[in-house]
């Protein structure tokens, strides 16, 4: 074979393998989604949303877990979003170029990919041990620590896209910085910032490990943030590994709910981001 023919053959082979790898990744995604649909859908009924968790065979649902998840994510957002928003604004507006901003950006990147189970251990040490019990607050704060780095990163990226002239125009009218930031810059980047918050919700909604040692889970009706609180991921974790068929079925139903929610949020935010960039 001539050298050219061999090189062409190599090129062709590598292209075929690469295409195969891409196809494989799509097949695996489809496989996971198919597993969720085929096992989750049959288990999904009104009882999942209307009844709280119950002993095996008693026909329980996931209501307390769903409500617990929503409460903890809500509280995590209320705590985490303002801090993340302010920190992202600091990085994009005030700190840029300074050593301290570089350090903050670096630390934020580390927090963004730090193992989430360690956040759970940290909040356990910080809150659960001194207070003397697991609680919805502890779970919410653990989730807030996961929310912050996501919001910081997207806020900074989005603010960097806001044209300089917009700020200059506002400053020229004599507006103080807080007005320029809140009324002009944030407003111009609004869609992007909301996207970041959606991504943060998606991340917090699927996390299990940080809740293990903080809000613990609760098999009763639990809406007090001062007591252990149920959550969807923890309920799935407990049920999936159990020997009872109806519990495993509920775990699949819960897994389907979470995945559909998280993937929807992700696709939505990607659509908005694609439009902005």
């Amino acid at each position: 074979m001539s050298s050219l023919a061999r090189r062409r053959a190599t090129d062709y082979t590598v292209k075929a393998i690469s295409t195969g790898f891409a196809a494989l990744s799509l097949v695996l995604l489809a496989w996971i989604l198919w597993t969720l649909l085929s096992r989750g859908l049959p288990a999904l009924g009104p009882h999942v949303f209307t009844k709280i968790t119950a002993p095996p065979g008693a026909g329980g649902g996931l209501l307390n877990a769903i409500v617990g998840s929503l409460i903890q994510i809500g509280v995590a957002l209320v705590i985490g979003t303002p801090i993340g928003l302010m920190c992202g604004t600091f990085l994009a507006e005030n700190g840029r170029g300074t050593q301290i901003a570089n350090a903050v950006r670096f630390v934020n990147d580390v927090l963004l990919s730090a193992p989430s189970i360690l956040i759970g251990l940290f909040v356990y040490q910080l809150l659960v041990v001194p207070v003397g019990g697991f609680s919805g607050w502890a779970g919410s704060i653990a989730l807030a620590i996961l929310v912050i780095p996501v919001v910081v990163r997207t806020t900074e990226d989005m603010l960097n896209l806001v044209p300089i002239g917009l700020r200059e125009a506002a400053f020229a009218l004599g507006a103080p910085q807080w007005k320029v930031v809140t009324f002009i810059t944030w407003r111009a980047a609004r869609a992007g910032i909301v996207t970041g918050i959606l991504l943060a919700v998606a991340r917090a909604a699927g996390e299990t490990a940080p809740l293990l040692f903080t809000s613990l889970g609760n098999n009763g009706w639990s809406i007090s943030l001062n007591a252990p609180m149920a959550s969807l991921p923890i309920a799935i974790y407990q049920y999936a590994a159990s020997p009872f068929e109806d519990w495993v079925a509920l775990a699949w139903a819960g897994a389907l709910i979470i995945t559909v929610g998280v993937l929807t949020l992700n696709i939505l935010s990607r659509l908005v981001l694609a439009k902005m960039k």
Binding site: R7, R8, D11, V14, K15, S18, T19, G20, A22, S25, L28, L29, W31, T35, L36, M86, T89, A92, G95, G97, I100, A103, V104, F106, V107, D109, V110, S113, A114, P115, I117, L118, I119, L121, F122, Q125, L126, V129, P163, R167, E168, Q177, W178, V181, A202, G206, E207, T208, L212, P233, A240, A251, I258, T259, V262, L263, N266, I267, R270, A274
Partner: protein, 325 residues
């Protein structure tokens, strides 16, 4: 003033010029921004400090040999991190070894081969793999992958490879399905989208001129990829791989479902094992407050933090050095 002043610099100049008008709202606002920035720094410091402090008694009890001692016996209260540290590194390295060629291939496909209209949808689909929660991977792995491994993958491999001296030791033992290899494969699938996304970003930052000159002298698409694009972005790509490694080190729920959770040392890929994260998740419910076991678990957490911090920090430095010039 320099004409190339960036917007923020300009705005801070203007903001400074504005200050003498005597408003008090602005200093408060700026102070809040600074406080949030510094809060993130303090947060990381606190996490390190709390984990270290929590694990300190275990470190004092067992000394530095805690790091490599392989005993983990709650009954006699002898604890060591050896099995978990090696399990963490072992499973993460398997994940990277499996994910790396796949990422190279998919990134090549997405940047050079895929027809234009298909690029975005396929790219997004690969990214969605990263959005699926860890516990879903765990369930899928536990109910689907583990039985498949036990029935179809491990028996032929054991028959074929275990008699071979030396590497045979990797393939010893009963085909349980759950174990180090299964955990590594699931982790590979989980880190694949992160590595691929960063590879694509790096490859797209290669100046077209360089690639075109290679095409001009008659190189094939693969040759341009291999000899021009990849070397150009090598540092950032190594960073991307380390980011994937960092993620694999700390994954908890998926691994807990499929690794088998045995705190014994074994060389076999098929043997059940444990990682730091899976051990913490598994054994925490049985560790009472103030017990030596809890302290040993916190110490494990601290070790995991140090390992992932080093890996993530290196990856950030490598990625930034290239992408941000």
């Amino acid at each position: 003033m320099d004409a190339t002043l960036t917007g923020t610099q300009a705005s801070s100049v203007i903001a400074t010029a504005h200050k003498p008008t005597g408003r008090i709202s602005d200093p408060i606002f700026v102070a809040l921004l600074w406080a949030s920035g510094i809060f993130v720094l303090i947060l990381l410091g606190l996490i390190i400090a709390m984990l270290f402090e929590g694990g300190l008694p275990a470190l004092k009890e067992f000394g530095i040999s805690f790091l490599w001692s392989t005993s983990w016996n709650p009954v006699t209260e002898r604890f060591g991190a050896g099995v978990m540290v090696s399990g963490t590194l072992f499973s993460a390295v398997i994940a990277v070894i499996v994910a790396l060629p796949l990422s190279f291939g998919i990134a090549f496909f997405l940047t050079e081969i895929a027809p234009g209209p298909l690029r975005r949808p396929i790219g997004v689909a690969v990214q969605l793999l990263a959005a699926i929660p860890s516990i879903i991977y765990g369930m899928w792995g536990f109910f689907i992958v583990v039985p498949l491994m036990a029935a179809y993958v491990q028996p032929p491999l054991i028959e074929l490879l275990s008699p071979i001296p030396f590497i045979g030791a990797l393939f010893q033992g009963p085909p349980l399905g759950a174990g180090m290899l299964t955990a590594g494969l699931i982790l590979a699938l989980m880190i694949l989208p992160f590595i691929t996304a960063m590879f694509v970003e790096v490859l797209e930052s290669v100046p077209p001129m360089i690639k075109e000159s290679a095409y001009g002298v008659g190189a094939t698409t693969y040759e341009v990829y291999r000899n021009v694009s990849v070397p150009y972005g090598r540092a950032a790509m190594v960073g991307a791989v380390m980011l994937g490694l960092g993620r694999a080190l700390g994954e908890t729920m998926a691994v807990t479902f499929v690794i088998g959770n045995a705190t014994r040392m074994s060389a076999s890929l098929f043997a059940p094992g444990a990682t730091i994260a899976s051990t913490i998740a598994n054994e925490f419910p049985e560790a009472s407050q103030g017990s030596l076991k809890l302290q040993a678990l916190l110490e494990l957490g601290f070790i995991l933090f140090v390992i992932s911090f080093i890996v993530l920090a290196l990856s950030r430095l490598l990625v930034r050095s290239k992408l941000k010039g």
